[in-house]
């Protein structure tokens, strides 16, 4: 009767997009390491020694989720976790050698998967697509953090 067409609802489409990606990741990249786990690993390869909070900020995960992902990566010995001697609240994270190796391997596969994922779009459309998603996400995240002052470079 008064039902709505969900294909005009960005939230619904976002969920479907994410699910589609999840499946493709599973078949083309890894069945063990998930996309969020790769994101955390990637952040730590870029900048070893970050604490959990900072990692979460970088990859867009909240405190609890980071803790879980970190614990799984630790269980697989892909990252190390040590208490910061200078600030006993923090845990400092860094990839192990195995972690770096795994990251390298998955990076290649991820690139291939992205190509397949975006294949239905032309090169120009792909650029637009990434830009639009990013702008919407950034704006929506901005709604959460009220009027944060200008980010300093450190």
């Amino acid at each position: 009767m008064a039902a709505v067409d969900l294909s005009t609802h960005p939230g619904h489409l976002a969920r479907r997009l994410q699910q589609a990606h999840y499946l493709l990741w599973n078949t083309m990249v890894s069945e063990e390491i998930t996309s969020p786990q790769f994101a955390v690993l990637n952040a730590l390869v870029a900048e070893p020694g970050m604490d959990q909070r900072t990692v979460g900020e970088r990859v867009g995960l909240d405190r609890s989720t980071v803790a879980e992902v970190v614990s799984r990566l630790g269980r697989r010995d892909l990252i190390d976790k040590v208490r910061d001697p200078e600030d006993g609240r923090r845990s400092l994270l860094r990839p192990t050698e195995d972690g770096v190796r795994t990251h390298r391997k998955l990076t290649v596969r991820t690139a291939r998967m992205n190509q397949v994922f975006l294949a239905p779009l032309s090169a120009a459309e792909q650029t637009v697509f990434l830009d639009l998603i990013q702008r919407v996400s950034d704006a929506a995240e901005g709604l959460r953090n009220p009027a944060e002052p200008i980010a300093s470079q450190r």
Copy 2:
């Protein structure tokens, strides 16, 4: 070192987009009914009496997830669930009066939320955005179901 820029990874962006939507939904639409729950309710308002499998197909949820969502909607007395007398395997689902009322209320709020969510884009960009997400999702879902024959209209 060899780290990757995740802002060019559609999967990562898809996850962030969905999270952003989740937060906005929570503040602007409902704290009790989630977006997937609304999707199921919406499908049942459009076509009461579907079984769980069909609902899942319509809204893009797998068997297990539909079962969970349905059980939550049932707990809130928004839908009824009865065994199909003609086929004892099926559960037939239909919204209760309260379910229809709730659906109507949330429809209004959802429309408002979508406006806010898409506000950073121009009207033309919004159209492109929805189209691109849909095409990518459809294509990726197509990779899963191998060579399905042309869908019949019933």
